[in-house]
């Protein structure tokens, strides 16, 4: 067995999300429409720390019961600061298929940590969850993320026209997917 840690990286590590400790920070993220629409509750408004605490507790309880969602807090190794959230959803173990989102608190965190966080997320998906397929949804205006996932081997599979409304305009919504054989091939090439 490869005993390289699933949760400990060079610059970041994954822990549980702790509604008591993390709610204030997540509340501050809700001023970003991006965060609320894509990763939180859908309807864009700000959420108070108390609301976030309650919502996160409900989400985590549901995740614990159904085992169809997993949440990880992404923290800096230096000072434990939470800089993002990794969420696996739509997990269907019988189909060996799941979706995921990777959220970063700001542009700086994205630049610094997105490569390592994605690498760890993919290893977890294919080597621990033993998935065959992993996918995510991106809006067509998020060119930075599109580049990140395309570089990591994801393929654009679907394009839902005008499915996203952002800054006063309609954009397309894209599904990106990667299959285990594709991911494994890239691992060999890297080594």
């Amino acid at each position: 067995m490869n005993n390289q840690s699933l949760f400990q990286g060079k610059t970041i590590h994954f822990t549980a999300v702790d509604p008591e400790k993390d709610a204030a920070q997540i509340s501050s993220w809700t001023s970003s429409p991006e965060f609320v629409r894509r990763y939180f509750d859908g309807f864009f408004r700000t959420y108070t720390t108390v609301e976030v605490k309650k919502l996160m507790k409900e989400k985590l309880k549901k995740a614990d019961e159904s085992r169809q969602d997993y949440y990880f807090a992404i923290r800096e190794n230096e000072d434990e600061k939470m800089i993002g959230i990794l969420h696996f959803g739509w997990i269907m173990l019988s189909n060996q298929s799941a979706g995921f989102d990777l959220y970063f608190s700001d542009h700086n965190a994205f630049e610094k940590y997105s490569n390592e966080a994605l690498k760890m997320a993919l290893r977890y998906a294919f080597m621990e969850l033993s998935l065959h397929r992993l996918c995510l949804i991106l809006p067509s205006y998020d060119e930075e993320s599109i580049l990140l996932y395309e570089r990591a081997g994801f393929l654009r599979e679907t394009q839902s026209r005008q499915a996203v409304f952002h800054n006063g305009k309609f954009y397309d919504q894209l599904t990106y997917g990667i299959l285990r054989p594709e991911w494994k091939k890239l691992q060999v090439e890297v080594q």
Binding site: R37, G42, F43, F44, M92, S94, N95, Q96, S97, H132, R133, C135, L155, R156, E157, T158, Q159, S160, R161, Q162, A163, V164, F165, F170, T175, G177, L179
Partner: protein
């Protein structure tokens, strides 16, 4: 067309009868062909009690309706508009014809046309999308008839019968639906007047 959104020639869309319908739906659960076309999770049996709870929750969140034939008032399927994004004015639709004898005869297609009219004319949506399993060619034909367009293929999402299967994404925009209405409107009006 003015007698409400939910009345068609072959079928009406009616509210779920939470006392009677869960029993019908439980019966459809025993039809594995139906189950495999309707849902991606393993085909399992839900008790009428759980079915009832599920439909209670579903009809509270989205617009879930029963498809009932206009003539003999037979409950033949279920249709659901849900996943509303009120900023993008979009939603997804799901449909299943549980009664095997009523498949492939236009009942589902008409139910879908009714819900699209409701979505665009009643709810002011800009877009409706759906997923369909690639092996369900009959459904894909029906959705194309309603004006849905192919928007891509999610590869190898389903693992059943020792094989991987794709999921097809389809969508229809309000502008496309309106274009089609112009074509459809002419003929039925003349036909009604002649009769």
């Amino acid at each position: 067309m003015n007698n409400g959104f939910f009345k068609g020639n072959l079928v009406d869309l009616v509210p779920i009868d939470l006392d009677k319908d869960p029993e019908n739906i439980s019966k459809w659960d025993c039809d594995s062909e139906f189950k495999r076309q309707f849902d991606i999770v393993p085909a399992v049996m839900y008790s009428p009690i759980l079915s009832k709870e599920w439909y209670e929750a579903a009809s509270a969140n989205g617009a879930t309706m029963i498809i009932q034939t206009t003539k003999e008032k037979k409950v033949i399927g279920v249709i659901e508009l849900d996943g509303f994004d009120w900023a993008a004015r979009s939603a997804w639709v799901g449909i299943g014809i549980g009664e095997a004898n009523y498949r492939g005869k236009g009942y589902g297609t008409e139910a879908m046309q009714l819900i699209l009219e409701y979505a665009f004319q009643g709810l002011n949506l800009n877009r409706v999308n759906l997923n369909v399993f690639a092996f369900n060619t009959r459904a894909i034909r029906s959705y194309e008839k309603c004006g849905f367009r192919y928007e891509g293929t999610q590869r190898e999402v389903i693992y059943k019968e020792d094989q991987r299967w794709d999921i097809i994404d389809m969508g229809i925009l309000r502008s496309e639906w309106e274009e089609r209405q112009k074509i459809w409107e002419r003929e039925p009006v003349e036909w009604v007047q002649a009769a």
